[in-house]
């Protein structure tokens, strides 16, 4: 087993990795930027090193500094978490060149799945279904036009070199194709330094369903079933669950097999996720592969009973998987809600500030993964995620009810969050029926957004109590007693006397 790990990340995923390290007896080394000095992941680690100022490029994305810390701290492995450098083959190679173990896939797999057009070709060769499309580095306008006709409209122009919504255009008619290609190329060039684009059929009312895969370094690859991730807003996931209310057992087997084939085609080792786009007719197509651990991995952990992060360390240590595909099964139902510091009523702009109080819910089947504690600042430099709330129960309806109950008990003061938006989504008929597709929220946002609640008189009373209790706030109204303490016996107006009738 590996002995000492540099966790090249922050926030809740760093805390998650720390837990696995503790349980496996791996010494943990955390890194922190100037604004993360008091963060939970720093407090929980065995050792912690300062790596630079808040902007990620100066800290969490600085390969040289991270390698320096790994060397100084005498780590034998690096876990990159998700985001940041987790899918950087440059970082992965640098870690390996430094003689350390990379808790993740081989750099070649990261690289092969990193360029979308390359990944598509690989998948086609491996017999994995891909979205009908067209790619060619040297196509003429005429050739693109022909390709557009054969794919059919609407179609998407997508950037080959990156994602995140950049370099994507939806084209509804042949006349708009060439201008869209030019525009997408420009944006892609600016965002990724790579103007390559390709065409793909645009699938309406599509679902995003992904398969977790896990492979050891001895040739064993399994899938750990699906996660339904169609509850998205502008391509950002909000709620994930397993099992998917939409796929059939046959689809599960077929998609699982396709995911395993995809992983094997790139010689994948360790944990990864193969994303599929699923049509209303229940066809599925390879979309892309995420060559890292994902945010929503707890959903899979709860329905399979496996600890994915510990498995990552075990695989990285050279161990063989102790189970086969036949040993695996899904039990019950898990739902994950991402709680963000954002203002749903103001275009979901991040609501940065101090988390004055955070009391997560507790109880049977309630899991909270968080890197935030009361008093923490939510910084402009990082993802404004407060916590992931992951609920487990025997079936989907029970899980939804339990999630609603848990959200009602959650207390988060000091910043605006999407908590009431999550509640509205879980209460909506479309969610309960399992009919949300990836564009649903974008298309129906106004209807889904809850109105600002009417002021509960207890909220008003509570606010007043709070101010009464805090002398400096009590002075706001101008009613100050001698010492500002309204609980002082000197401020009573009722004739109270010790030892005598009042």
């Amino acid at each position: 087993m590996l002995k000492k790990c540099l966790i090249a990340n922050r926030g809740e995923i760093a805390v998650r990795i720390l837990q696995a390290c503790r349980e496996l007896g791996i010494v943990s080394v955390a890194v922190y930027s100037s604004v993360d000095e008091q963060a939970r992941h720093v407090q929980l680690a065995d050792e912690a090193y300062f790596i630079g100022s808040a902007p990620p490029s100066q800290s969490y994305l600085n390969i040289d500094t991270l390698l320096q810390v790994a060397h100084e701290a005498e780590c034998d492995c690096v876990h990159p978490g998700y985001g940041f450098l987790s899918e950087s083959e440059v970082f992965a190679k640098a870690v390996l060149d430094a003689g350390l173990t990379w808790v993740g896939p081989p750099p070649s797999a990261i690289e092969q799945m990193g360029v979308k057009t390359q990944a598509r070709t690989l998948m086609q060769d491996a017999g994995v279904p891909v979205v009908p499309g067209f790619q060619s580095e040297s196509a003429t306008h005429e050739q693109f036009a022909d390709a557009g006709d054969s794919i059919g409209y609407p179609l998407m122009v997508k950037a080959a070199g990156g994602g995140g919504g950049k370099g994507i255009r939806i084209v509804y008619s042949a006349d708009d194709l060439i201008p869209a290609i030019e525009s997408a190329r420009n944006e892609a060039q600016k965002a990724f330094g790579d103007a390559r684009i390709f065409l793909e059929r645009y699938i309406e009312s599509a679902r995003h369903i992904e398969i977790q895969v896990l492979a050891d370094s001895h040739g064993n690859t399994v899938h750990l079933f699906e996660r339904e991730c169609s509850t998205q807003r502008r391509h950002q996931k909000i709620i994930e669950e397993s099992p998917s209310p939409f796929i059939t057992p046959d689809m599960r087997d077929a998609m699982g097999q396709a995911a395993v084939d995809a992983a094997q085609a790139v010689g994948y080792v360790n944990a990864g996720t193969v994303e599929f786009i699923v049509t209303p007719d229940r066809d599925f197509y390879f979309l892309e592969m995420n060559t890292r651990l994902q945010v929503e991995h707890p959903v899979t952990e709860l329905v399979t009973g496996l600890d994915l992060v510990k498995l990552q360390f075990q695989v990285a240590s050279g161990e063989t998987l102790s189970f086969t595909q036949a040993d695996l099964s899904q039990q019950g139902h898990a739902i994950e809600c991402r709680l963000y510091a954002e203002d749903a009523r103001n275009n979901f702009l991040p609501a940065i500030g101090t988390v004055l109080q955070f009391i997560p819910p507790q109880g049977a089947g309630i899991r909270v993964d968080s890197g935030i504690q009361s008093g923490d600042e939510i910084s402009i430099h990082y993802d404004p995620m407060i916590a992931k709330l992951i609920i487990f129960d025997r079936d989907r309806n029970s899980a939804i009810q339990r999630t609603l109950q848990a959200l009602e008990e959650t207390v988060i003061l000091g910043t605006t969050t999407n908590l009431d938006f999550l509640q509205a989504l879980l209460q909506s008929e479309v969610f309960r029926e399992g009919e949300i597709h990836t564009r649903y929220i974008d298309e129906h946002l106004e209807a889904l957004l809850p109105d600002m609640p009417e002021l509960d008189e207890w909220a008003l009373i509570g606010t007043m109590l709070h101010d009464l209790k805090t002398p400096q706030l009590a002075s706001i109204s101008g009613d100050i007693t001698n010492d500002g303490d309204v609980f002082s016996p000197w401020s009573r107006a009722d004739g109270f006397r010790i030892g005598g009738a009042s």
């Binding site: 940065i352 003061l413 002021l455 009373i461």
Partner: protein, 161 residues
């Protein structure tokens, strides 16, 4: 003690008194509510009213008041009745930051004439670009920031008159 709070676009007035038997009396408009309340070491309130217990959580920062009660969160602002409240938008022609971020680019110079809706500044936060534009035509009086500055919510960026 009487206090006014703003919630959404409405202002609410509440009066709260501690009575001789240790209970509280709240007056909101015509309503009078009598209850007991205790605060534990975590700052959580426990209200006792008509045989029921209501847990309640509060926190504050500057003028803002945060409350969670009965499964719902509320954000209010204390209205300072003694002096005129410092408005968050300053004078009508000021551009303020709607959220904390970093200035990417200032697109005008002092003295420039600007049109209604013209973008004067670009802010970046959370990998998003926010174009800050002026709500009315005028002349750029004072530019308080430059590219690279980190700004807070409510901070005045450019004064236009």
């Amino acid at each position: 003690m009487t206090q006014q709070y703003q919630y959404g676009s409405e202002t609410f007035t509440i009066q709260l008194e501690l009575l001789s038997d240790g209970s509280y009396l709240a007056r909101i408009g015509e309503r009078e509510i009598r209850f007991y309340a205790q605060q534990n070491l975590n700052g959580q309130w426990l209200i006792q009213h008509q045989g029921k217990q209501i847990p309640l959580y509060t926190a504050s920062e500057d003028d803002r008041r945060y409350v969670q009660v009965n499964g719902t969160h509320y954000t209010l602002e204390a209205v300072d009745t003694r002096k005129r409240r410092r408005g968050s938008s300053g004078s009508s022609g000021d551009l303020t930051a709607q959220m904390p971020g970093q200035v990417v680019d200032v697109l005008v110079e002092t003295g420039a004439t600007v049109e209604k809706g013209q973008t004067l500044l670009i802010l970046e936060a959370m990998k998003m670009e926010i174009r800050v534009s002026v709500p009315m035509a005028g002349e750029v009086k004072v530019i308080h920031v430059s590219a690279g500055d980190v700004v807070e919510r409510g901070q005045v960026l450019i004064e236009v008159g």
